[in-house]
Symmetry: D2
Subunit: 312 residues, 4 copies
């Protein structure tokens, strides 16, 4: 087995050589300005070790990766009753598709497509003002990463608010089916803000540790969620974490992961590591092009795929 340090350095070097780096998301204006040549990666091992390479300390917009954290928080809040309002199946359609919602009468297929994550935001808004709910989400992410400097990028949040017509459509549609308890603009306020959380790879890898460690933050020993629930969130990330490219990600990379249109991916090797990778250019499915390739190389060289036997 090669050393992880060497593998990360090799990957950073290889990624620098790619000329086709995908297209930076342009539908959120603030994201369109990011330099496509950025590439960073961070690995937090469950033994506490952290390795970084490339632009791992540069903050980016985590976007849909935040849905992993809001899901964990919402399950803590309402438990498995959440699943009355959201499904657990891959969608078979693009991330912002509304077709499935009509066919299945307002129940989003999973918590990682936009409609499902909006319902999760709605759960987190219960009994709160939007500002409070956003504050709780940020506090939760800070505690997971053990880093109080993590904040919402207000420009990005504002930018989504203005251009997020399809999300407004989804929220109103959910409301029309009775699957939204608050006014669409309030729930979307929460949604847009948690998507606009900015983190660098190191912070993000740290924030994901609990999923690699049966629900507990290794450094503090704090139990965030039960091991059962950690296992299940990992399963959802594997089957639904990359929108309509989830099958491909499982096929090539072979570990649970959640991508965001900011170009980040959070990936989990259960029992071993939490990984954050970032490269702003996206592939045709809306997932980080180089991020996916880098993770494929990493799991291959380290034999980290959950679909491979491990040496005893």
């Amino acid at each position: 087995m090669p050393s992880l340090r060497d593998v990360l350095d090799e990957i950073v070097a290889e990624m620098a050589g790619y000329s086709d780096r995908g297209a930076v998301a342009s539908y959120i204006p603030q994201l369109g300005k990011i330099d496509p040549n950025k590439f960073g990666i961070a690995v937090t091992l469950t033994n506490g070790e952290v390795l970084v390479a490339g632009d791992a300390d540069e903050p980016f917009s985590i976007q849909s990766i935040s849905k992993v954290f809001t899901l964990a928080l919402a399950l803590g809040r309402v438990g498995d009753t959440l699943w009355k309002r959201v499904g657990r199946e891959p969608s078979g359609t693009p991330f912002n598709s509304i077709v499935q919602l009509e066919r299945e009468e307002g129940i989003p297929r999973n918590p990682f497509i936009n409609a499902g994550a909006i319902v999760v935001s709605d759960v987190l808004l219960a009994g709160h003002q939007p500002r409070e709910a956003i504050g709780e989400i940020v506090s939760f992410v800070r505690s997971l990463a053990d880093d109080d400097t993590i904040v919402v990028d207000g420009d990005v949040a504002g930018s989504e608010r203005v251009t997020g017509y399809r999300n407004f459509a989804l929220a109103n549609y959910l409301k029309g089916f009775g699957n939204l308890n608050h006014a669409p603009e309030l729930t979307l306020g929460v949604y847009f803000h948690h998507c606009a959380i900015a983190m660098n790879c190191q912070q993000l890898a740290n924030a994901g540790r609990f999923l690699a460690n049966a629900g507990r933050v290794p450094s503090s020993g704090h139990t965030v969620i039960s091991s059962e629930r950690a296992k299940r969130i990992n399963a959802l990330m594997l089957t639904c974490g990359h929108y309509d490219g989830s099958g491909e990600f499982a096929f090539r990379v072979g570990i649970p992961g959640k991508s965001g249109v900011g170009g980040g991916i959070l990936a989990i090797v259960p029992g071993v590591a939490s990984i954050a990778v970032w490269s702003p250019g996206l592939n045709a499915r809306g997932n980080s092009m180089l991020g996916s390739i880098a993770l494929e190389q990493l799991t291959k060289r380290m034999n980290w795929s959950i679909f491979s036997p491990k040496p005893a």
Copy 2:
């Protein structure tokens, strides 16, 4: 950790107590006659040990489970060019849906939905008479299971031929899009026959060993497929192996698995075990109801989910 022997015995006892056992598939007349009270399970460990419980030596129709074997065989035949004709994404629609085919112009979403498996059969038919292609598939399965008594149930194959109108529709539709090289009735002849292979749990668990063991049959050391390919088939089983219930199976059971409407499930714990379970009654998604529950209990008690950390 409890002993596997005890766990299997407990599970058989628990399953006997279920009164709601799902509905036996009735659309294939021969399957509709099976006693819904049957329940069997077999586990073949990669160290060669085999444990069985319940009706593990009673043959049943493996149906769609055969698609795992034909996929492995076809990949051996044509390699990754197969993926030009079949996708690798969960479908988001029922197993026999034709809607997705129209939207995606004749490319089935994955090799485990009917349309995808029909394309795989078409690959295996190349250069052969149907009878030869069927013979090769049966030989392949026999060699995997190291058991020359495995045969096609001719009654079941004939039964599918007569009633398989939706499969004829799919095959003709594929042909209309140019994604079938042979006459629909010839390709379906192969498809119906491999679906009608009869095996008992012990044979099926043995046949799946290579997937738990990086592509090699542990007993003989014979390499069936590369470790890379075994890993990827496992990933496909996880994301697509239970039709539109694949997300739920991953969420609850947490290991790669492929179900059949005969009530069987083949499941893989990479590096550890190949499992076959059989109970004829199906749940709403068309997967064995008690089989799914039994596997959920088994992976939970043995900590076999691939989404959980393993003790060092």
Copy 3:
């Protein structure tokens, strides 16, 4: 040929005998309060004669019938460039479906489904405040009916605003595809208000006269639209005027018509008559149940179907 007077009286008598009168629309609270036993009909002949029967002088909410008037007004405003933003085909889906919009990238199938009518409202809003646009629509309808007492029912308009989530979804979706020039809430303000225009059968039949008379109001001789455009609006009413029940209406009634969920239908016999019928209970397709039956009887007894030969 029987006398129209007799036929109308017979129809009113027959309709009184129906116990199954359909279901009053409940999704707009104000509409849910209407007495389902109401039935009215008015016929304005192109020769100026007006015949009424039943509750023909009781105002009701014209709802989607208003889309005929806004279409005529918008065509006057922007001409055939409207058809770049809206199609002219039956939708094959329910009136408030969003599926078609996704498939056809934001171009509604026709101006009578909700999405299409929202685009028409958007056209009428150009260069105006919503209040002004609403004022122009009401003025136009008053001039068509030659009746200055016609007004918007503010309670109904407010009621739609609060509960119209699916329409908000549609408007945001259109906006996301770039097919809405104004803010969704402004365009919907116009839309909800014109749907909330209240008219009685007599007023409505008068307002429709120009469509039966090659675009000219017979009483005043005023040309509202060209005869070519009147012909084409009639064609659209025939193919698309009853949502996913348009084929059935053409099959049974055989004249252009536009229904509203308030239970009204405006129907046109080109060259002969403009007809308004009202009965609040709706059939499964969302069209007035008794209104449809009454019109079927009327066209049959008067030989008014456009699909039948006329005596020389």
Copy 4:
């Protein structure tokens, strides 16, 4: 009003000037060989007069136009019970779409899309051998046209049989839903043969006379169907006769019509005329490009649209 003779001559002259004539259907090999420069038109007035122009005496494959005749024949055979197996609504999807069938569980939307016409063929096959059923259809068409020389083009029928995979898919799909009483290949044998009937414009216009004349053949006085049924078939032609271009045809041409991929259109002016036009090139919706334009010009110049007032 100009003379019909002059109008037809003008139209033929104008059509000769078109360089963009659409694309000749290529999916049926025999049709792909037709000269795209052909153009013919024939008008049979209800008074018995027949006017022809252009290539009106050259036979072409009537294809889907035959569905009008099989519908009339099937309604005569089983009456309105036919409507339990076929709907009466425009489909909103292409002519050979299978999507709608899945959503609506095997009930085709109307008798003019392929699936619906296959069900109609299945009705006509009841109690017959395919050869007999085909014979009855041809006899019926001959009697309508009063011309015993009309035959099925065997080459075209054979050609469809070989390449008609999507129709085989539709037939098997219908069978899977229990909406086909005979073996798919038998029903399709009937279907392919009636689609392969060859007629020239003059014969076709004659064959359609009964629809313009309240169900009676004017020359013989023979009642083919009731006036009620003729009216309703006309309505279906208007709403569903041009596949997913029916709305456009109603909008531009304004009379009932049924097109075929051979480039023919049969159109009806109730009480006035039966019209057959032929030009092999098709527009994007699969309807004769010049045929549609010619009919638009004809109805405009003769004021034949059913959506326009007629002078007293």
